[in-house]
């Protein structure tokens, strides 16, 4: 095709579009930058509103305190355990199930699919699930966070569609003719071709485990087992609300905030960063899989 000269109206469109996208990006970025800067600044500056974009009077005190706090460290360890273990269990169950459901010659496939899809819209709900966990004797045990929700229906359907459309059937047939059993075909031939979906699934499940707090809150009573997000909830929301209520009641001037509040605010910003960084660092590396994995799976599903 011959190059057609761009119209001036299109050029204008381009510029306006770029400007708008940049504004959008800045709006989304601002709260994140604010928190990062606040975590590095002197709390006096932050609490009096003198810090609004770049860190003022840089200090690492907040991070120092976070790594001194045994509750946070313990929670961090627990979260890593739940995330790694839980995600492995998720993948172990989801991928083979999705693969077999993607095969047309599977006996009772239609029925099984209906059965699976049904749970997307009708589940027992919060209370029956709680009662089930309780009568299984899983209360206050590590397993409940690992096993509960081992397969997410949405993810199962996404992977199934990927296996059905994303893996060329000729390859599987060739493996079969060469004498591979179905299980060996899956492990040796199909899985290496499915890195995209594995990456996306690991990310979905992993982020889910990392960020989950609700099931930990209702099932775990032992403080030694609680994940990071629950510790965060106490530091960030409950304590903060309490402090505000007190301040509001007694009309404390913001300049008179005592040393304790100052220290707490330092920890608050630092702990947000420390808890979110692992996920935020990992996902850009998996971003290239989003196109392939998510698209193939969800668009046709």
């Amino acid at each position: 095709m011959a190059v057609i000269k761009e119209r001036s109206s299109d050029k204008l469109f381009n510029i306006i579009n770029l400007v708008l996208m940049t504004i959008l990006m800045l709006v989304i970025l601002y709260p994140l930058v604010y928190i990062i800067s606040a975590s590095l600044s002197n709390p006096d500056m932050v609490n009096t509103g003198k810090m609004w974009l770049f860190p003022v009077d840089i200090t690492l005190e907040g991070y120092y305190r976070v790594f001194q706090d045994s509750e946070i460290i313990k929670g961090y360890g627990n979260t890593i355990f739940y995330t790694v273990g839980g995600t492995l269990i998720n993948l172990l169950f989801t991928l083979p199930a999705a693969y077999s459901l993607s095969k047309r010659h599977l006996l009772g496939r239609r029925f099984l699919m209906l059965f699976v899809t049904f749970t997307m819209y009708f589940s027992g709900g919060m209370v029956p699930t709680y009662l089930l966990v309780r009568s299984l004797g899983l209360m206050n045990s590590y397993f409940v966070l690992l096993i509960n929700g081992a397969i997410s229906t949405t993810n199962l359907i996404i992977s199934r569609t990927f296996f059905a459309n994303g893996v060329p059937r000729d390859v599987e047939e060739a493996a079969f003719i060469d004498g591979c059993s179905p299980i060996k075909t899956f492990l040796v031939v199909v899985l290496p071709l499915s890195k995209a979906i594995m990456g996306v699934m690991a990310l979905y499940y992993g982020v889910g485990h990392w960020n989950s707090w609700f099931s930990a809150m209702i099932y775990l009573t032992d403080r030694a087992k609680i994940p990071l997000q629950l510790v965060l909830r106490e530091i960030l929301i409950e304590n903060q609300m309490k402090a505000e209520m007190m301040a509001a009641g007694e009309y404390v001037d913001e300049l008179l905030l005592d040393a304790q509040v100052k220290a707490a605010s330092l920890v608050r910003y630092a702990v947000i960063i420390v808890s979110s960084v692992p996920v935020l660092v990992v996902y850009p590396f998996l971003q290239k899989y989003f196109d392939k994995g998510v698209m193939i799976g969800s668009l046709k599903g």
Binding site: M1, R7, S9, D10, F13, N14, N17, L18, M21, L24, M25, I28, L29, P31, L32, I35, V46, N47, T48, G49, W52, G125, M126, V127, P128, Y130, L131, V207, N211, W213, F214, I218, Q229, L232, L236, I237, Q240, M241, E244, A247, A248, V252, E254, L257, S265, Y269, I272, S275, S276, V279, L280, Y283, P284, Q287, F290, D291, V294, M295, S298, L299
Partner: protein, 214 residues
Amino acid sequence: MPIPVIVALMLNEVKQIRYKKIIQTVTYAPHFISTVVLVGMITIILSPSTGIVNFVLKSLGAESRYFMVEPQSFRHIYIWSGIWQNTGWSSIIYLAALSAVNPELHESAVIDGATRLQRIRYINIPVITPTFIILLILSAGQLMSVGYEKVLLMQNDLNKTTSNIISTYVYERGLLKAEYSFASAVGLFNNVINFILLIFVNGVARKFSDTSLF
């Protein structure tokens, strides 16, 4: 709901590949922040004594307000923070649909003298309409069970008039007060309503367009 569509349409027009990648990475980021951290950030930023929003209000001469306990602010905080968190992520699926557009369509449109806006209007928007409808139907099925984790975290005694939703009510009655049978019934009833909504919206979609879920 329509904001991710607009973002996807605009992002699709950004021709600088590297810049597009950067925008994508940045706009996806909030999606990976946990609900606890998100609500924590909201609490910090809206804090009446130390939050940045109230410093701006004060410097403009307004009174500082405690947004987190105001019933009338709850909906705004909930919705706008949701948009902040999920716009970029939800636009992925539309971007995918847009990348499936046959480039020949655009080429011939250019030869026929169509402007960028006309090409968006007559090529890109029709392409993503089916995706939009499907997602609309699916979200109708979840209308009655909005993200209760976030609501639960944002809830306090003072804003309960607007922040109490079915799921948090089920949690309160069922798990905190141990009224298992009553709470299960409420939950099941909620499911039934969701299902009816799903069927209804699906029927409407089938009637007025060619796309429907089943």
